[in-house]
């Protein structure tokens, strides 16, 4: 079974984000990056399927040279080879354009299964995977929390809202978007890290006419969320003093205790 996992590099979850002078994006110069959380679970799911059925796991990531760290980490965890779609401003593509670039980068691989995370931790569009399925003419399922695959038969458990679930069956080839937290992600072993050095990373250049497709949506400005409430910050940096003050406020002001 040939499985392709799409992995996106995003700003580290704990990074302090600074807005650029123009107010249109964040300063990326001094940021630390990591893989978008649900993409890590997509890789783990791919590796588990491969362990069961054999085959090959290919990781595909898009962006400047820094995304090589995501790729190398995936190879160290057990992916067999990688496709790096190289470009500097690809992070700002609309989901439609991004899916277009990715579709052309992996189309010839004719994978049995394409896995993505359910949404990225930066833009959070939650669309690229589904559009990729449309462009590759694959059936898809989103927010998948369990994958049961044998041969061409695929049965997946989808998460619905408010504690409901549903199983869907379809044939491979197919595309699934994977929910976070569905398994225990493996660590890269030292052996894996050494083996990764010999694995192939194919660099591809995105097709210019796809990159320049109209995005139909433009970010005008970004800013800190407007507060809907006036928050009283207590303790002024002293957590213990804040706690004493808080107990009093809950008693006399909010009157909830």
């Amino acid at each position: 079974m040939k499985i392709i996992v799409m992995m996106k590099q995003v700003a580290n979850k704990d990074a302090i984000l600074r807005i650029n002078k123009e107010g249109t994006w964040i300063e990326e110069g001094d940021l630390s990056f990591e893989v978008s959380e649900s993409d890590g679970y997509a890789l783990e799911e791919a590796l588990r399927v491969k362990e069961k059925l054999g085959g090959e796991v290919i990781v595909c990531s898009m962006g400047p040279q820094r995304v090589k760290s995501v790729i190398k980490d995936a190879l160290a965890r057990g992916a067999d080879r990688a496709i790096h779609v190289v470009g500097d401003n690809l992070g700002h593509l609309s989901p439609y354009a991004a899916a277009g670039v990715l579709a052309e980068s992996i189309r010839e691989e004719k994978a049995d299964l394409v896995l993505t995370g359910l949404q990225s931790d930066d833009f959070g569009y939650a669309q690229t995977g589904v559009i990729l399925a449309e462009l590759l003419e694959l059936p898809h399922a989103t927010i998948v929390i369990e994958v049961d695959v044998s041969g061409e038969k695929l049965r997946v458990k989808r998460e619905l809202e408010s504690g409901w679930y549903q199983w869907y069956s379809m044939s491979t080839p197919a595309l699934l978007t994977i929910q976070s937290g569905i398994s225990q992600i493996r660590y890269a072993t030292l052996k894996g890290i050494m083996a990764a050095k010999k694995k192939e990373i194919k660099e591809v250049t995105p097709l210019a006419d796809i990159v320049s497709r109209p995005s139909h949506q433009k970010i005008d400005k970004i800013y800190l969320p407007q507060k809907t409430k006036q928050t009283q910050l207590l303790g002024n940096g002293d957590a213990k003093a804040g706690a004493v003050e808080l107990a009093q406020k809950l008693h006399t002001e909010a009157r909830v205790i």
Binding site: Y125, E134, K218, L224, K240, I257
Partner: protein, 328 residues
């Protein structure tokens, strides 16, 4: 020429999803500011019973798009059907609720029109005839104002809570139009939806909730939160990562995939406040947040906040509350 606003009304076997009313409210608000007629669309094999209910809202018309293949939701079926409806009605704007169902098919629908959705909006504003949509980015740390700069239709989805369901205005009775839609091959087969376990804990009735997030760091540290909950006479709950790690059972999870709660007092310990968590608790009376990250989005909706180490603050808070309760 394209004209009007079309709102997608979600239901499961004829039972309305309440976020659909929020989507109607969104469409009414935007449609009236744009001075455009608003229509609603219902998909299914037989939606006859639901159509009059929707027609009671202030809309120009309700379109029921039917096909036997739409009896159960599938992304293939819904995409084909909605594509037909959108091409037939040719609206400027298509409004949908940002539900798990819409997330599953709407990107595919937008792609058929050569574009993406403006997804998961938390508000929208009309200025001089054009709409500025606001979305949360970076897990809720920042907001982005987004404008559409292409040809219509614009596809937008709204986060639950962006509009209130009771804002959906009733009207004098909209016309109901039925439309047989063609649907192509359906490549996936759904089984019946089910609930994993019967919810053992119903947090929706709790008066006081102490909820823990990633910041609690280890299962052993839960005792700290338990003691606080005990002192307050409240229930213990958690954000998704805690339940994924099985430190607490899933029936204590608050958020879009867990329970929605509105207690008198909600104490968030080490919870950053991703939008999926916030939708589950933002209607709580008094919200307290204790988090080391001053930028954590949870502080945007908190009444009281302590920026600092929860391991320092919580034991003191527990003791102080015990003292107060002992006195009162």
């Amino acid at each position: 020429m394209s004209e009007g606003t079309l709102v997608f009304v979600e239901h499961r076997n004829g039972a309305l999803n309440k976020t659909s009313l929020e989507a109607i409210a969104a469409a009414q608000s935007l449609g009236s500011q744009l001075q455009q007629p608003i229509s609603a669309v219902l998909l299914g094999s037989d939606v006859g019973a639901l159509a009059p209910e929707i027609a009671g809202y202030d809309l120009v018309k309700v379109v029921t798009a039917t096909n036997d293949k739409l009896a159960e939701y599938t992304p293939d079926g819904y995409t084909d059907a909605m594509e037909r409806v959108v091409r037939a009605l040719n609206p400027q704007l298509v409004v949908m609720p940002h539900t798990y169902l819409v997330r599953d098919f709407a990107p595919k629908l937008a792609a058929r029109f050569g574009k993406s959705l403006i997804s998961d909006c938390i508000r929208a504003q009309v200025t001089r005839g054009s709409i500025t949509f606001t979305r949360r980015i970076f897990l809720g740390k920042l907001d982005a104002d987004v404008v559409s700069d292409g040809e219509p239709p614009v596809f937008a989805t709204f986060q639950s809570g962006a509009y209130r369901p009771d804002q959906a205005a009733k009207g004098s009775g909209a016309a109901v139009e039925s439309m047989e839609v063609e649907v192509g091959e359906i490549r996936m087969t759904p089984e019946a939806p089910f609930q994993e376990v019967k919810q053992a804990v119903d947090l929706s009735k709790a008066d006081i909730i102490v909820a823990v997030g990633r910041g609690i760091k280890s299962k052993d540290n839960l005792a700290l939160a338990e003691k606080l909950a005990e002192a307050l006479g409240g229930d213990l709950a958690a954000s998704r990562p805690i339940c994924d790690a099985e430190w607490l059972p899933i029936d204590r999870q608050i958020g879009s995939s867990g329970q929605t709660v509105a207690p008198k007092l909600y104490v968030a310990l080490g919870i950053s406040g991703a939008i999926q968590h916030l939708v589950g608790m933002k209607n709580s009376g008094t919200i307290v947040a204790i988090n080391k990250d001053p930028e954590a989005p949870i502080f945007d909706i908190a009444d009281y906040g302590i920026v600092g180490d929860l391991f320092e603050a919580v034991p003191v808070l527990t003791e102080e509350i015990k003292k107060i309760k002992g006195l009162s």
